[in-house]
């Protein structure tokens, strides 16, 4: 069994490129401000540090959005990140909104409650986006995007995502480079949707294992057989492969029925930065 490790990252280059990306792409859309949700986890911490460097701390709106069942530590870590980066932190408690909505929904399960919370956070961020002319910064990393580990129209929704092509293992290196508080880097990743939940328990494998397999599968285009031959657990390789394929829909917009001559996404294929 080979010891799993994902790809390395040139953190100096990554910081330079990702900061420039946020600044220039926001500028192209005529936005000077950015807004993001600060969960207390490593992904949003890195995104917040990059945003602060891109547009200045006074132009970043950070919002923590707990509800009654959130781990109190998440808010503590959110404050730690904001203080470390010199950012103000707004807190919007979602308990009343979530409870109000959940009362109207038939027998919500923990999974569905998690999705509702993720989407209420999206509603909150987009409201601030409109109110304060600030673009919503995404905080989903490449490992999550590939595995489809996120809620559509929830945490997966954003206008600009600086870390969508950074694997989880690379994010830890980037977080250290950006001086994210050690407690945030060291704690087990959790979506904090249900008490005590961790991502790795949910997924059934560690992020290190996932990154090592995904690097071979996606970056190097190795076959599952070759990845297993290199020493990876065949059950985990198959589980990851199925997730990547099954969740392709989460990485794309809705399908549009073809009827006219120029369908958006096929013949009507323009850059998003068109005439900016």
């Amino acid at each position: 069994m080979s010891s799993p490790s994902g790809p390395p990252l040139d953190t100096e280059l990554a910081e330079r490129v990702l900061v420039r990306f946020l600044r220039e792409e926001a500028g192209r859309a005529s936005f000077r401000r950015l807004v993001l949700g600060l969960s207390g986890g490593i992904d949003s911490a890195v995104a917040a540090c990059l945003a602060a460097r891109a547009v200045g701390t006074e132009n970043v709106i950070c919002i923590a959005m707990p509800w009654k069942d959130s781990n109190p530590e998440s808010l503590v870590h959110g404050r730690l990140v904001a203080d470390g980066a010199g950012l103000a932190l707004d807190v919007v408690d979602l308990t009343a909104a979530a409870e109000g909505l959940l009362r109207e929904l038939p027998a919500p399960t923990p999974h569905r409650i998690g999705n509702v919370l993720a989407r209420l956070r999206m509603v909150t961020l987009w409201d601030r986006s409109f109110a304060e002319h600030a673009l919503v910064v995404g905080t989903t990393n490449k490992t999550e995007l590939l595995l489809g580990y996120g809620t559509m129209h929830g945490d997966l929704a954003s206008a600009l995502n600086p870390i969508g092509y950074v694997y989880k293992c690379q994010l830890r290196a980037l977080a250290r480079h950006l001086d994210v508080p050690q407690a945030v880097i060291d704690k087990p990743p959790s979506a904090d949707l249900t008490p005590g939940q961790t991502d790795e328990d949910d997924l059934g494998f560690t992020y290190d294992e996932a990154d090592a397999v995904l690097e071979r599968m996606v970056e190097r285009r190795e076959s599952p057989q070759a990845i297993v031959a290199a020493g990876h657990d065949p059950v985990i390789v198959e589980s990851i492969r199925r997730r990547v394929v099954r969740n392709q829909y989460k990485r794309r917009g809705p399908l549009i029925a073809k009827l006219s001559r120029r369908t958006i996404g096929w013949e009507f294929r323009y850059p998003r930065d068109w005439q900016t």
Partner: protein, 285 residues
């Protein structure tokens, strides 16, 4: 002669804004003493155009080209643009203008269409690799991927090229190495060095910077002298204006020292290529 590598970050699909950017850049370069200003690939339009390609295309007799002609009264310029040609064809093209005249147009011959590249969808392939004489010596132009294939540079060398102008838009990719810049930039550096020393020519490579569609362009424009020595290097990723002295005597000295061109045997290469191609096309079964 002093040349400038105008490492711009064009506006995507806004020709008028880019034309102004060219005019401002030439003014700055001329003030710094430049007689030749090399702009990058598709400097007039931006790179990731997709279906906007025909919408930003210009013909060689368009008012936009007239303005570029006028601009070339200040300094010679190479400009990257979308050319609309007869027959509904669009080329990823490079123009060389000097003294109010359009001296040459090169149409990109190698159109990458893999990975994030999709050029054959939008562009027709150029089919010429020609040199032309200027007040700076014999010039040949290549556009980005033309430079990665060995053939075009060789064909220019066989026409005794003195100054190879390369116009690029290179999406930066690969951030694992720790070398402090995109891994995709190192190959281009090696090629510039190689062509300059093999052909005893100057290589002026202008590579754009800036961000489009989430893609960061590598920048890092370079000029090489005729022994392969790197003369200058522009900033990574961001816009820059880099000045470089081009000394024709250095080419003469390099070619005396290493007379590759004198000893080159293009007829032999051609004959062998014809044989290879004839054998390759013969059916196996």
């Amino acid at each position: 002669m002093k040349a400038a590598l105008a490492q711009t970050a064009p506006h995507l699909a806004r020709v008028e804004a880019n034309l102004s950017q060219h005019e401002e850049t030439v003014t700055r370069a001329v003030a710094a003493g430049a007689e030749l200003v090399v702009f990058p690939e598709l400097s007039l339009t931006g790179y990731l155009l997709m279906e906007a390609t025909p919408e930003v295309a210009i013909t060689l007799d368009s008012p936009t080209m007239d303005r570029l002609r006028e601009l070339s009264r200040q300094a010679a310029i190479t400009v990257g643009f979308v050319e609309e040609a007869v027959g509904g064809r669009f080329f990823n093209a490079a123009a060389f203008l000097d003294g109010g005249e359009l001296l040459h147009v090169h149409r990109k011959v190698y159109l990458p269409s893999h990975g994030l590249f999709d050029e054959t969808r939008h562009f027709a392939m150029g089919d010429r690799m020609r040199v032309f004489d200027t007040r700076f010596g014999r010039v040949g132009m290549l556009v980005c991927r033309d430079f990665w294939h060995l053939g075009p540079a060789y064909v220019l060398a066989c026409q005794d090229v003195d100054v190879m102008c390369v116009l690029s838009a290179s999406p930066g990719r690969g951030a694992e190495s720790g070398a402090g810049r995109f891994e995709s930039t190192s190959s281009v550096s090696l090629l510039g060095d190689l062509y300059a020393r093999s052909f005893g020519c100057h290589v002026l490579h202008c590579s754009r910077g800036g961000v489009e569609e989430g893609v960061t362009f590598a920048g890092g424009s370079e000029a090489f002298g005729p022994s392969g020595e790197r003369l200058v290097r522009g900033a990574d990723e961001e816009p820059d204006l880099v000045l470089v002295d081009i000394d024709p005597e250095a080419r003469r000295a390099a070619r005396l020292r290493m007379p590759f061109l004198k000893e080159e045997r293009p007829h032999l290469i051609l004959r062998e290529l014809q044989r290879v191609l004839a054998e390759r096309t013969a059916p196996r079964y």
